[in-house]
Assembly symmetry: C2
Homo-oligomer: 294 residues x 2
């Protein structure tokens, strides 16, 4: 049932078994299911994923769970913005027909001892700065897929590496689901939508524009037939380095399929960057495809 955008709230499930029962009932009715995993604090990026799912699937489950397993010890787990009522209302209006909002205790028992690890794609870029992050992501996404039993699951390209890790996990473990990537949604300033943008002061928000400007500069060089990934990185760094309050974590140009190191851009490559603006770590990326644009 597509959501009627009425005022009636969507059902909210708190445990894997409740969620599975609902999903199995929908499947038994012949309904297709889309799933949109989120940490909550929904913005237009998430709502675009929900709309994409609602367009393609009979049912759309939004999952809202601030997953402790993907936060490092010094990261913003406790401060991460939470507003479930607002998220549920926005989700429903964007086309979600159910929500899965498990509790931390329901997701992780004290003696949890099983994890899903990805040992190649997750080792570089954000995996270097956040060593246990992708193990937390892969584990929770496996759990969410097992609870929601979707035909398709939707992820944003902003978290490009996350999407690749999840696609790899789904392929390697034979999860019966299609992973759909959706384009980055940006503010008018060009800044990629992120729940963490809320941490930025007005001045920092302005500085954060340098991420998109750096990608613009690289894309311009690519259009001018530059195919050296080191040059792409240099061009992007040159934009960010002078910016007040910006500190580069990484700027790297790699194979867009498996994040392998490359010496020349001969097939799709991603230029990915992570930059601290003040204390807030932001990421962004662009994919450059030589056949189409070269």
């Amino acid at each position: 049932m597509k959501n009627a955008k009425g005022n009636s709230p969507i059902p909210v499930f708190r445990s894997p078994v409740e969620m599975q029962n609902w999903a199995r009932e929908r499947r038994a009715e012949g309904k297709s299911i889309g799933c949109v995993p989120t940490l909550g604090a929904l913005h237009e990026g998430h709502l675009g994923l929900i709309r994409a799912s609602a367009k393609e699937c009979d049912e759309t489950i939004v999952t809202i769970f601030v997953n402790p397993l993907q936060f490092g010890p010094d990261e913003d787990l406790n401060g991460y913005p939470r507003n479930e009522d607002r998220d549920l209302s926005l989700s429903r209006d964007a086309g979600a027909t159910a929500a899965y909002c498990p509790t931390v205790e329901g997701m992780y028992r004290d003696d949890q001892s099983t994890y899903v690890i990805e040992e190649t794609i997750s080792k570089v870029l954000c995996g270097r700065s956040r060593p246990s992050h992708f193990r937390g992501v892969a584990t929770v996404v496996a759990k969410l897929l097992n609870a929601c039993l979707p035909d398709k699951a939707y992820f944003g390209w902003k978290d490009f590496q996350q999407m690749l890790v999840i696609k790899r996990m789904v392929r390697d473990l034979d999860f019966p689901v299609e992973i759909v990537g959706c384009p980055i949604v940006r503010e008018p300033s060009g800044l990629a939508m992120s729940s963490r943008n809320a941490y930025l002061s007005t001045e920092e928000h302005s500085s954060a524009g340098c991420l998109r400007k750096a990608l613009d500069a690289a894309e311009k060089a690519f259009k001018a037939q530059e195919r050296d990934p080191r040059e792409m990185e240099r061009v992007a760094r040159e934009v960010i380095e002078p910016v007040k309050s910006a500190r580069i974590d990484y700027v790297e140009c790699r194979d867009a399929e498996n994040l392998a190191e490359i010496d020349a851009i001969e097939k799709p490559a991603v230029l990915a960057l992570a930059v601290f603006i003040g204390n807030t770590r932001l990421i962004d990326n662009t994919v450059m495809t030589p056949d189409k644009e070269g």
Copy 2:
């Protein structure tokens, strides 16, 4: 459809997608599915699992796959007995209605990089002697569950630690399946059925009887109110040590739920043993429950 024990062969699927399509069609018809994962070389132990599934489920998928990921570098991967035609025929006669016999190439791509790891239960007993074994088991069982989409999956208690690791994985990752453990099936001599028994010479086969005799001795002590796990281990060792061609890998009495070390048998405990008979490594175990028997 329960198998009619006719002569018509059961369908055999070679890829995850083929298997999933069949399983989803059966589910759409409202059928329940049981799954019996095996390495092939079926014996009465496996057939008991298939019969248990055929009794409880509308469809029973037997999976036959000699999983390279769970064999160590010096183990018997290449020599492991294989006879698919015989296995399929035995499976059908025991009540299986489909078989999943994937190829190694279809299961593991060259760039496979995702694994399921269990970090507590799998560290002791067989996990000490076979360090990557349970990572291979957990990963392949996750893949088999994702391919067969069963309501229930059946495992033998002979591989007690394996069953605990899989139960923990299913719990921790929210797989929508019930793991059913089935009793050990023994030869008239008391030796637990195992595909590896085929490696034993006649003389070794006779020596291998010491495993069951060691468990008998411990059970006798338990019935006489012995509750010291160290004493259980001593009693069992005393039976095995004098046996020609027997070399103990481990004899340990531990908590039967999580394999934790115990100082006294106050709730169900397992006495587990692994013994080399010549070059063949055999395992066996018994569970002792104080409430029932104490």
